[in-house]
């Protein structure tokens, strides 16, 4: 089950996009034999579940987008593309933000846009440098709201050390645009000798999580019509590039001592679909299994309470200021300690390990002592009564 890593440091030009992720049960068109002949996409119309980050999203990407953009080197399917241009390695990413409400506890659509894009770049070990943003404004959007959002973006960009260098604005008729949509593109420089990719997890690696899960998704949910609740749940929206820098410093020391490949194998921010979906994606890309310990996974009491009454599972709820990292065992404790010394990683925990059994499957020991499998979400997680 060992993979040949010698190609890891070779020039890589792998165009991929932030939402493209592979699901083990769907087919990828074979570049040698052409696209799959079966009639594929079953849905007549797009439904909300297609945007939820779970199996429906994978199906959409696989059966609609990949077929059109068929590209021999799409199989990396990371959240950002790592490009080789004139000897420099660059990370390149794009994302769009359509959250409602546009203002929520702990942030707004603007902070989400900046931090989300910075994080996508940081997850490849890149230093985020420049962002572009395109705004689609709905006729009737109060100018004051736009101003607040844009000011938030400015603040977030300065805090993250990135510059917004170009942009675009469009206005659509009332009723055609849910107030405000933002699309961002980001570019960063990979200056370190890193090789972070979803297919690099190895049995024996440790799984690190940077802190409390479910804050962002439940903060949004607390404002959702008919599901509102009171309570101090704030989005954890934050730029993680500073935390990642510290983690890479810690790795750097270890790599020198151990003389092996870079110990930080995979890193991803568990946004929509939550930690469970992200770990499943990595497990399936790397063809490894994972085993987690429920009692090590930090969840705030308020998030727990909200999830309990709505019947939601925090492991599938979106986060916007957290990361999971798959680190070689020999470096794991050093990296964990470094994370815990950083403000955004104070509550970091080692939540499990990568195993060779059950490749592609993530299992968990439950708090009560049983075991459970964490499958990929299908569509949106919905509040339930049963």
């Amino acid at each position: 089950m060992t993979r040949n890593d010698s190609a890891a440091n070779a020039p890589v030009a792998a165009p991929s996009s932030s939402s493209f992720s592979q699901n083990p049960t769907t087919e990828i068109p074979n570049p040698l034999f052409g696209s799959c002949p079966l009639p594929i996409f079953q849905h007549k119309n797009i439904v909300l579940g297609h945007g939820s980050g779970g199996k429906l999203t994978s199906e959409l990407i696989d059966k609609v987008f990949l077929r059109a953009f068929a590209n021999p080197i799409l199989d990396k399917l990371d959240d950002q593309a790592v490009l080789q241009i004139n000897g420099d390695r660059l990370a390149f990413t794009t994302d769009s933000f359509v959250v409602t409400p546009i203002f929520f506890p702990g942030g707004d659509i603007g902070t989400l846009a900046i931090n989300g894009t910075v994080n996508d770049l940081a997850m490849s070990g890149a230093r985020p440098l420049y962002l572009a943003a395109a705004f689609i404004l709905e006729e009737g959007l109060p100018a004051e709201e736009l101003r607040r959002v844009v000011e938030s973006m400015g603040t977030a960009a300065r805090k993250a050390g990135v510059q917004l260098v170009t942009g675009d604005t469009k206005v659509v008729n009332r009723g055609k645009g849910d107030k405000l949509f933002i699309t961002t593109t980001g570019i960063g420089a990979i200056e370190r000798d890193v090789n972070i990719s979803a297919n690099r997890a190895r049995p024996g690696d440790k799984i690190l999580l940077s802190g409390y899960i479910g804050d962002h998704g439940m903060a949004i949910m607390s404002k959702r019509e008919n599901l509102e609740f009171e309570g101090a749940i704030e989005s954890d929206c934050a730029a993680l590039n500073g935390l990642v820098d510290c983690m890479l410093d810690a790795c750097g020391a270890v790599a020198l001592r151990q003389n092996g490949g870079h110990p930080l194998h995979c890193m991803r921010d568990p946004t929509r679909g939550g930690v469970a979906t992200t770990l499943n994606e990595i497990a399936s890309q790397s063809k490894v299994g994972m085993f987690l310990h429920e009692d090590q996974i930090p969840v705030r009491e308020s998030v727990q309470g909200a999830c309990e009454i709505l019947g939601l599972d925090p492991l599938y709820v979106a986060n916007e200021g957290k990361l999971v990292a798959i680190v070689a065992a020999e470096a794991a404790h050093a990296v964990l300690q470094t994370m815990q010394n950083h403000p955004l990683g104070r509550d970091a925990k080692m939540i499990g390990e990568v195993v060779s059994e059950h490749p592609g499957m993530v299992r968990m020991q439950t708090r009560v002592g049983g075991t459970r499998i964490l499958d990929v979400m299908f569509g949106e997680q919905l509040p339930r009564i049963c």
């Binding site: 607390s222 009171e230 101090a232 705030r300 309990e308 009454i309 708090r367 002592g369 339930r384």
Partner: protein
């Protein structure tokens, strides 16, 4: 049928002709209707299903029955049915609670099966 969660009543009020409450569930607060548990007081715990309190938590009973679970490895010899119906309208203790009332767990009771963390 199914999803109902216990929460603490932190405020009760009337709204639109119905008795309502703000109920706290581990750090968040949601409104629930108290019409079906009209004698609930602030500070008590209720079981909430789809925005309605359908029952109150009997805290004494909860404590008593949990203690039985905790002491299970000590009591296994006594072979009493673990939980019996407690008549909520009478104060007469059920005969089998005598064993539970009398038994005190040994100071160094052995727990089989090591707990995590």
């Amino acid at each position: 049928m199914c999803l109902a969660i216990p929460g603490k009543v932190i405020e009760a009020f009337d709204q639109g002709g119905m008795r309502m409450a703000r109920v706290q569930f581990g750090g968040i607060i949601r409104e629930a209707c108290l019409e079906y548990v009209p004698d609930t007081r602030v500070g008590e715990y209720v079981l909430v299903h789809v925005g309605f309190a359908i029952s109150k938590v009997d805290e004494e009973e909860a404590h008593r029955t949990y203690q039985i679970l905790e002491d299970m490895d000590q009591l296994s010899e006594l072979m009493a049915p673990v939980v019996d119906e407690r008549d909520r309208h009478s104060q007469t203790p059920h005969p089998t609670t005598a064993a539970e009332n009398g038994a005190t767990p040994p100071a160094n009771g052995v727990t089989r099966g090591k707990e995590g963390d």
